[in-house]
């Protein structure tokens, strides 16, 4: 199989996001794209990565991807299942989570996340689901990875509402705050990988996916996006990663349509 052309941009995103996770990490996993990436990591290069979902399932190894954050599969394949207050208090707030893996509807240049609404709070244009676990995952986990599809609607200069802290409206939202994690350390999209600038925290493209141009990233971003001086090329997915991902998704599809 020729891996150079035979994969989609969505697969490129998932594989790149998966590679961010390593053995030895304890990952608090958001539903959707983060969950897909986290399980791909577990099924390929990081079999020892510990996955935790907010439904209370600790060290879970689902055979198929969950549709909801509390699917039975997560509980049945977990080391143990604790109550939701215990999950948030002991395991997350207690400092046992090294990385939180989140998706979002909107993200801005300081990696603040909006999952609350588009428009004005009292008269929303679009009402989104809300915060869920994210506000405390983003501040109590050691660091945060974010993955979402790149589009000008999603990547805005300033989010309409900060549901979940990245680095605040001015990039200094974490400065001087005690007992807080490092915050977003990388953002993985279907076009590129971004990291916050070490000084002013503005998201900066550090790696472009194969075949993606700077112009494409700029067009899909709602502010003048910066590129790192030494811009890397994201390595392509391997045959093995693609095969495992496709089988995982096919297995999931079969399981969810069979019910």
């Amino acid at each position: 199989m020729n891996t150079a052309t035979d994969y989609t941009s969505a697969e490129m995103m998932t594989v790149t996001a998966a590679r961010a996770l390593e053995n030895g990490m304890t990952c608090f996993v958001g539903i959707g794209l983060p969950s897909e990436a986290a399980n791909l990591a577990r099924l390929t290069h990081a079999p020892e990565v510990v996955l935790i979902y907010e439904s209370g399932t600790l060290q879970t190894k689902p055979d198929v991807l969950p549709l909801s954050i509390g699917d039975g599969e997560l509980c049945e394949s977990a080391l143990t299942t604790v109550s939701v207050p215990e999950m948030f208090r002991y395991w997350l707030q207690g400092g046992k989570v090294s990385v939180g893996f989140l998706g979002t509807a909107q993200i801005d240049r300081y990696a603040n996340l909006n999952t609350t609404l588009i428009g004005d709070y009292t008269a929303p244009k679009v009402r989104l689901p809300g915060g869920g676990g994210a506000p405390e995952i983003a501040t109590n986990a050691g660091e945060v990875f974010i993955t979402l599809k790149h589009s000008p609607r999603a990547f805005v200069r300033d989010v309409d509402f900060i549901t979940t802290l990245g680095f605040g409206r001015d990039g200094k939202g974490r400065d001087g705050v005690p007992n807080i994690g490092k915050g977003p350390t990388r953002v993985i999209t279907d076009l590129c990988v971004m990291k916050p600038d070490p000084v002013d925290r503005e998201l900066t493209v550090v790696s472009l996916h194969p075949g993606v141009s700077r112009e494409q990233v700029q067009e899909a971003t709602g502010w003048d996006i910066r590129f790192a001086p030494e811009l890397a090329a994201t390595p392509e997915p391997s045959d093995h990663e693609l095969a495992v991902l496709r089988e995982l998704k096919a297995r999931t599809e079969r399981a969810h349509s069979g019910q």
Partner: protein, 272 residues
């Protein structure tokens, strides 16, 4: 002491118009049968508390039972929006509702504080979030020992909590297994608690550390077989993921929704 009642009688006795009601179950064991009974009895002006409103509150909101919702994540898990919740918030149908939103961590702590009989929950939360700007119940306090700034929210103390569980014994002791969410906290935090169960058995067969809620901490037990469908009951039946996907189309349209409620809840007279 738990009394074994019909679901209809339990709802009639404990859920009053204007009450504050928590129907809990974190994706798992969602008390749908009880929610449908509340719709059938046309309860009004309820303040509903639930971390994840899910389809059950979408149905209650669209059916006009609700004045206010307190929640932390209001979507259709893995599918998208709760269209009845959105229609009420964005367009005021069937009437305007109030919302008060939190994060999961804060609500979980608030249920726990309610169970512990405390007026407030304290957490390291909401740092840098703008939720405190739109929810005046989120405050910050200073730790008297370290000076750290911490978030505080009022505890959850519902008039009635309703949860679903796998089984009860004849004395009304309840066993909850699998993803246990905040069910135990919801029961202990409330003035009155109704627990619906799949079945009543002679012996719970629970191991020493199982999540068992004593019958003397519960007001009413009602048998509701398949009472959490389309959610699931660990060990009994799986989540009906297909229905969660189908709900998107039903709930998108006011007429389709009203027909669905009429056909599947009102007309069934308690045997949905």
């Amino acid at each position: 002491m738990a009394e074994i009642l019909s679901l209809s009688d339990a709802v009639k006795r404990y859920v009053e118009d204007g009450a504050t009601v928590a129907m809990e179950g974190f994706t798992h064991l969602i008390p749908f049968a009880a929610g449908h009974e509340v719709i059938r009895q046309r309860k009004r002006d309820l303040t509903l508390i639930r971390m994840t409103p899910d389809l059950v509150y979408d149905q209650l909101i669209g059916a006009g039972c609700v004045k206010k919702v307190i929640f932390s994540w209001g979507g259709n898990p893995g599918v998208g929006s709760l269209h009845r919740l959105r229609d009420a918030v964005e367009k005021g149908w069937p009437h305007q509702i109030e919302i008060l939103e939190h994060s999961h961590a804060a609500m979980a702590c608030a249920f726990e504080a309610g169970a512990a009989g405390l007026p407030l929950a304290v957490l390291r939360g909401y740092v840098g979030s703008e939720l405190p700007n739109v929810n005046e119940q989120i405050k910050f306090i200073e730790c008297p020992f370290t000076g750290e700034r911490l978030a505080a929210v009022p505890s959850v103390r519902p008039d009635v909590s309703i949860v679903h569980a796998q089984k009860a014994d004849r004395a009304g002791n309840v066993l909850v297994e699998g993803i246990i969410g905040v069910q135990k906290e919801a029961v202990l935090a409330a003035k009155h608690a109704i627990v619906t169960v799949e079945e009543i058995v002679d012996d719970l067969g629970a191991h020493p550390n199982a999540c068992v809620i004593p019958g003397w901490a519960i007001d009413a037990i009602a048998v509701a077989e398949k009472g959490s469908l389309p959610s699931y009951a660990h060990g009994y039946y799986p989540r009906d993921n297909r229905f969660y996907k189908e709900w998107d189309a039903i709930a998108r349209d006011r007429d389709a929704f009203t027909r669905w409620i009429d056909d599947n809840i009102i007309q069934t007279g308690g045997h949905a």
